[in-house]
């Protein structure tokens, strides 16, 4: 590999590394160092300095999020790991947990120490049963080794990790909906404020972090903030990122690459180029809820800030590539149908608006669309995004936004020809 590997340094395709292997590669040294020589506040400061941004999609600076957490408040507090990876085109967390589950456990213990939360939950997608079993084994092993449970390494700090299998639904990935689900309620998103850091799980202070975010923590602790920041290829970025490649590529795998790597490098070098030697048309750079990047964006470095300037979001970095023979209207319709089905049904724009957008796109695909439908679609995009209760509808409008940004002429083409030009 031409780039340094952190999360995948123990990766052996088809195998899972457990305690012995993990320990051999320097595992749990970060935890020992933290617990023996650092105060909780120092860990938070270190993570803040490292510039680590949340890997779950929103890209919010992790250290800043932690600094809102009232770690000195008495009473129960919770750390929750979000492993409800249900976004189409995103599968990095699954790969990580099948490769090296102890990284997550160690990261969580360090985080729990930094936030002083005695209880931690892993909320895991029901389809990731194998990962859940890996985690349970890892938890048991860590406990046996004294890294987890009561009085960790004699420090007086105790932490329990529970693995909770979700009943599954895309909305469970929204942090407040996840908390509702974890409480045993219908996973509806909750009102913010109060933010989870104030009233989260069981109405107690809670921090929710993604699997990959937490797995990075121990590397930051062992390697230091400056080293971690220097891993990225751009100024603004920090660390590496798991890119899950899918779509019309020769190689659809998950790679660990530094932040700031260009789209061109991902597609043509790591992805082995577009399948069948066809031309690159577009891609979803970060899962189903991000606006498309087109061929003119191939030189965009993929980090959180640079990609925003190009009109999209890095999201979960699940890169889905489409070749030149793909109808982008059909792709969008497919995605919208997913979002419409997965809406929790709480707020009006999302519940009733998304099916309507799907209906409009169907009109295009069936060749029955008119100018009026085009204007309606544009209008709906404005009526739904930013008007809904949570980010689901906003994310659902990502592909529609991309459609208007990069492929409006394709929509017009559908109207002019009275059919889908790709069929």
């Amino acid at each position: 590999m031409k780039h340094p590997q952190l999360l995948f340094k123990n990766r052996i395709p088809g195998e899972t590394v457990f305690f012995d292997g993990y320990r051999k590669s320097g595992g749990y040294e970060g935890l020992e160092k933290t617990i023996k020589s650092m105060s909780p506040a120092e860990v938070t400061e270190l993570v803040k300095a490292s510039g680590l941004c949340g890997r779950g999609g929103a890209g919010f600076p992790t250290g800043t999020k932690w600094s809102f957490f009232p770690s000195d408040q008495p009473g129960p507090k919770y750390l929750v790991c979000n492993c409800d990876e249900m976004e189409p085109g995103t599968y990095k967390d699954g790969v990580l947990l099948r490769t090296d589950p102890h990284q997550l456990i160690e990261g969580m213990i360090i985080t729990a120490y930094a936030l002083q939360t005695p209880e931690a939950y892993v909320f895991i997608r029901y389809a990731y049963e194998d990962c859940a079993q890996n985690l349970e084994r890892a938890v048991a092993e860590a406990k046996e080794a004294g890294y987890l449970g009561k009085d960790i390494l004699g420090s007086g700090f105790s932490c329990e990790i529970h693995v909770h299998r979700s009943a599954g639904r895309y909305i469970c990935g929204e942090e407040t909906a996840l908390l509702s689900g974890l409480e045993g309620r219908r996973p509806n998103p909750r009102l913010k404020p109060p933010f989870p850091a104030v009233r989260g799980l069981f109405d107690r202070p809670t921090t929710v972090n993604n699997v990959e975010t937490l797995a990075n923590i121990q590397h930051i602790v062992t390697g230091g903030a400056d080293w971690f920041k220097s891993l990225a290829l751009t100024e603004e970025g920090a660390g590496t990122k798991l890119f899950g490649l899918s779509g019309h590529l020769e190689k659809t795998e998950c790679f660990e690459l530094p932040l700031g790597v260009t789209l061109d490098e991902i597609v043509n070098e790591h992805g082995g180029g577009v399948r069948g030697g066809k031309k690159f048309k577009a891609c979803l750079p970060g899962g189903a809820s991000t606006p498309y990047l087109a061929a003119n964006h191939l030189d965009v470095p993929l980090d959180f800030t640079a990609i925003t300037r190009a009109g999209s979001r890095l999201g979960t970095a699940g890169v889905t590539v489409f070749d030149e023979e793909t109808c982008m209207v059909a792709v969008t319709l497919n995605l919208i149908r997913f979002f419409a089905r997965e809406s929790c049904g709480w707020c009006t724009p999302c519940r009733d608006g998304l099916p309507y957008v799907a209906w409009l796109l169907e009109q295009f695909e069936q060749g029955e669309a008119t100018e009026e439908h085009l204007e309606n679609l544009r209008g709906q995009f404005r009526n739904i995004a930013g008007r809904s209760f949570c980010a689901l509808a906003e994310g659902a409008m990502g592909p529609v936004e991309g459609l208007f940004n990069c492929f409006e002429e394709e929509l017009v083409d559908h109207i002019k020809k009275g059919r889908c030009p790709f069929k």
Binding site: R341, E342, G345, D352, G353, W359, G386, R387
Partner: protein, 826 residues
């Protein structure tokens, strides 16, 4: 306080307000569908979006966003208009447009907004829902095709009522509101969901197709059932109470009602109402004119007064004015034998509280309970006797995290609340547990003793009630007793609640004294915001006590009158608004008394079993026909307004008393209820200075928000011994009924049509009893048959039966004991 600008208007509001509330205060209207004043913020419908200058670029939901200093809000712009219109179009995609047949038409929020935003066509094509309607139950009809998924019904049922019969099911476009397993509704039928629904998805079934909202005249009055004194707004058309309308603007209940208040109005419209006076001739009651009847009554009373005397027993659902006139009638007859409500159950107030605290009423008002941090509820039935007060406790526990302790002989809804602990004792041992709590306070030295009289005697008598000892006798763990006592003493604001009423005649004074002792020792009496509540069963129980409709001087009480009449030493009985045969303890005695008294006059709405035994029956009027005042359990004097006129020749008790007094030659002549109230205010100290016509929508609380205890005297009180027997029967009130009147109201009867005996599930398994089995219950030499009902709230060896039903004859067994040892067989 926070300053902000809304639509160019500068306003100052409290910092907990949302933008919507701030705008409302400033008189600016923002449309809402899912917002409700009493529910937590929700933010799902998205029609209340506004622009905030500090948060440019997106629209802000005004109903969930708290105000911040210097906020500049715009509530209307082209973009907002467009977004709101779109949301309405979305809602109308699958909403059936059946406004012509929808009873909500005319007062539907969605209809109004559709007009306001001129949604005349819909760009969106979608399928209309065709879901089946829920018409299984007789009271609440649900048509989910009309639902806008605002979630108000789900939330009110969960947050306020604490029942939780609704939830959202399915996802996305198919989301709908359903009950568990999507079956028909089977709940408490309080109808809160009906009142909250902004559209026609949940409607009152008894009102189905009866009238349009604009045809209905609204009359605010006070519910005549329990002592909570909820404001109910009658919807009147064609001289009938057609429905009870939602009204959260006035009254003590914040728009909350229970099944009786919401659906129990129909007894006023009942066809069984008496419409003419009846006189017994040759053993048959035959119709007579008012003149004849009153002549007969006056003659009869005059004769009886000259003989062995007349006894007057009244109900507590008469207005204050009527009770005052009744006292005058008693004077005119020349008798001091005057009493109400069986004469025993209210003694906790008239004797218990008077001896200890020197007051004759609850010391606080309901809103103070909401702010309490520790609540002690005595008897789990509290929720069933005063359901809307139960909702207040709910709020205190769920919203304000109050700690709730329940001293009870059965589990109840209160016990299911978070932070609630039930001190489940063996039947009839309330006093023992309360004494043990007092003893626990004395033992650990946390009892308040400054300025308390009678401490030494109390200490002596409490020596027998060490928590450990009581624990053995009652089955309540000593730690639990101690913890509850400690929490109560440590509370900043506490509330002690006790309900009284006809089915709880035993030990009424003792329990109140024990509760008052505890209130004094725990500091409840001294602390501001901490109060002791004794809540009467009937709408005007407190008024009857205030006005002194209790035996005075040499007068006999109700039970003594009955004894005397049965023994033939009382010549006449005048029974006003009470069905003694059904509701008083010991039916045999009551029947003997009615037979033994030479002359019986019954004044009632219905030809009750008591009236059937009368010599003269006078048809009276329901609360819906009366003008006057009720005093509720928190001493609030509230106005009752007439909505309809009485059927046939029936007259209000007011009119009857006036006519009768004149026949008796007393020459009563008042110009109306206002004049009577002025006269009674002159006589009753607490009511001095209250002006009838000045009693506003919120009523007047006599004695102020907090009634100061005149004395602080603890009084030793003895506990009871546990009742021996394999099965012990408890009587009491069922949530759906109140007294005997509700058994004539279609709503409550539709849900609980007849008496039943309730078994705990363990006993039911052992006895192999299932719902609906006929069960024989034997005790006190009598036997009754009741249908079985199996539930989970009764401990082993305890059965429960409600007392409301005439046919059941429960009072053949029940002679006023706190618990009755019974034999149970199939």
């Amino acid at each position: 306080m926070v300053n902000l600008t809304i639509d160019g208007k500068e306003i100052t509001v409290s910092k907990t307000a949302t933008i919507y509330e701030a705008a409302k205060e400033a008189g600016i209207d923002i449309p809402v569908l899912c917002y409700a004043k009493k529910l937590l913020p929700y933010g799902a419908c998205r029609v209340c979006l506004v622009e905030v200058e500090q948060m440019k670029g997106r629209l802000i939901p005004s109903c969930t966003t708290p105000v911040t200093e210097g906020m500049v809000v715009t509530t209307m712009s082209d973009e907002i208009q467009k977004v709101r219109k779109t949301v309405l179009e979305f809602l109308l995609v699958n909403h059936v447009i059946d406004c012509p047949v929808c009873d909500k038409g005319g007062e539907c929020d969605l209809q109004d907004l559709t007009y306001e935003y001129e949604v005349v066509t819909n760009r969106f094509e979608g399928e209309k829902f065709d879901l089946p309607t829920d018409e299984v139950n007789p009271l609440i009809e649900r048509n989910m095709n009309r639902c806008v998924l605002c979630g108000k019904c789900v939330r009110v049922c969960d947050e306020i009522v604490g029942y939780g019969s609704y939830s959202f099911i399915n996802r996305g476009f198919e989301t709908k509101i359903a009950t568990a397993f999507d079956r028909g509704l089977n709940c408490e039928f309080c109808g809160q969901c009906v009142s909250m629904c902004p559209v026609g998805a949940i409607l009152p079934r008894p009102f189905k197709f009866k009238a349009r909202p604009w045809q209905i005249k609204e009359v605010d009055s006070v519910c005549s059932y329990c002592g909570n004194g909820c404001t109910i707004t009658m919807g009147v058309k064609d001289n009938k109470v057609q429905t009870i309308r939602f009204n959260d603007k006035i009254g003590v209940n914040d728009g909350n009602l229970c099944i009786r208040g919401r659906f129990g109005y129909s007894y006023a419209n009942s066809d069984d109402r008496l419409t003419t006076p009846l006189i017994k001739k040759d053993g048959e009651l035959v119709e007579a004119s008012w003149d004849e009847a009153l002549e007969a009554v006056a003659e009869g009373f005059k004769k009886a007064a000259a003989d062995k005397g007349v006894g007057i027993i009244s109900g507590a659902r008469l207005t204050n004015e009527e009770l005052f006139l009744l006292k005058n009638v008693a004077k005119a007859i020349g008798t001091e034998n005057l009493d109400h409500s069986g004469g025993e159950c209210y003694k906790g107030v008239t004797e218990g509280l008077v001896e200890t605290l020197g007051v004759k009423a609850s010391t606080g008002t309901f809103p103070q309970v909401e702010d309490a941090d520790v609540i002690l509820s005595i008897r789990s039935d509290f929720y069933e006797t005063h359901p809307v007060f139960g909702m207040v406790v709910n709020q205190a526990v769920k919203r304000n995290e109050a700690q709730l302790f329940i001293v009870a002989d059965k589990k109840g809804k209160f016990g299911k609340l978070p932070n609630a602990e039930t001190l489940l004792h063996k039947p009839a041992l309330e006093v023992n547990v309360l004494n043990a709590m007092a003893q626990a306070l004395i033992e650990d030295g946390s009892a308040v003793t400054d300025g308390v009289d009678g401490l030494d005697e109390l200490k002596k008598s409490l020596a027998d009630y060490a928590p450990e000892k009581v624990a053995a006798a009652t089955g309540v763990p000593a730690e639990q007793i101690k913890a509850a006592a400690k929490a109560l003493a440590g509370a900043n604001k506490s509330a002690i609640l006790l309900a009284y009423g006809l089915p709880y005649t035993a030990q009424s004074k003792e329990i109140a004294v024990a509760a008052a002792n505890l209130a004094i020792l725990s500091g409840n009496v001294d602390k501001e915001g901490s109060n002791l509540y004794l809540c009467g069963e009937k709408a005007n129980s407190q008024g009857a006590i205030d006005l002194g409709v209790i035996p005075a001087g040499s007068g006999q009480g109700a039970q003594q009158m009955l004894d005397a009449a049965a023994a033939g030493s009382l010549s006449a009985l005048y029974v006003v608004g009470e069905d003694m045969v059904t509701s008083y303890p010991d039916r045999e005695k009551v029947e003997k008394a009615l037979d033994g008294a030479g002359f019986v006059v019954a004044q009632d709405l219905f030809l009750s079993p008591t009236a059937q035994k009368a010599d003269v029956v006078l048809p009276a009027a329901s609360f819906a026909e009366k003008d006057g005042t009720f005093t509720n359990a928190e001493r609030r004097i509230q106005r009752v307004h007439p909505g309809i006129t009485s059927p046939g020749e029936a007259k209000t008790d007011y009119a009857i008393f006036e006519l009768l007094a004149n026949k008796l030659g007393a020459g009563l002549s008042y110009t109306g209820p206002a004049a009577v109230f002025a006269a009674l205010a002159n006589e009753v100290d607490a009511y001095k200075g209250v002006e009838f016509n000045a009693i506003g929508a919120q009523g007047v609380v006599w004695g102020g928000e907090e009634l100061k205890a005149a004395t602080k005297k603890v009084v030793p009180v003895k506990g009871a011994a546990a009742v021996d027997g394999k099965f012990v029967l408890l009587t009491g009130s069922a949530l759906y009924h109140s007294g005997t009147v509700s058994t004539h109201a279609k709503g409550p009867v539709a849900v609980v049509p007849e008496a039943y005996v309730e078994f705990g599930s363990e006993d039911a398994t052992v006895l192999q009893v299932a719902d609906g089995d006929m069960i024989k219950i034997k005790a006190n030499g009598a036997e009754v048959q009741l249908k079985a009902k199996v539930d989970k709230r009764l401990p082993q060896g305890v059965v429960f039966a409600p007392y409301h039903f005439a046919e059941a004859g429960l009072n053949k067994l029940y002679k006023g004991e706190a618990a009755i040892a019974v034999e149970v067989s199939k």
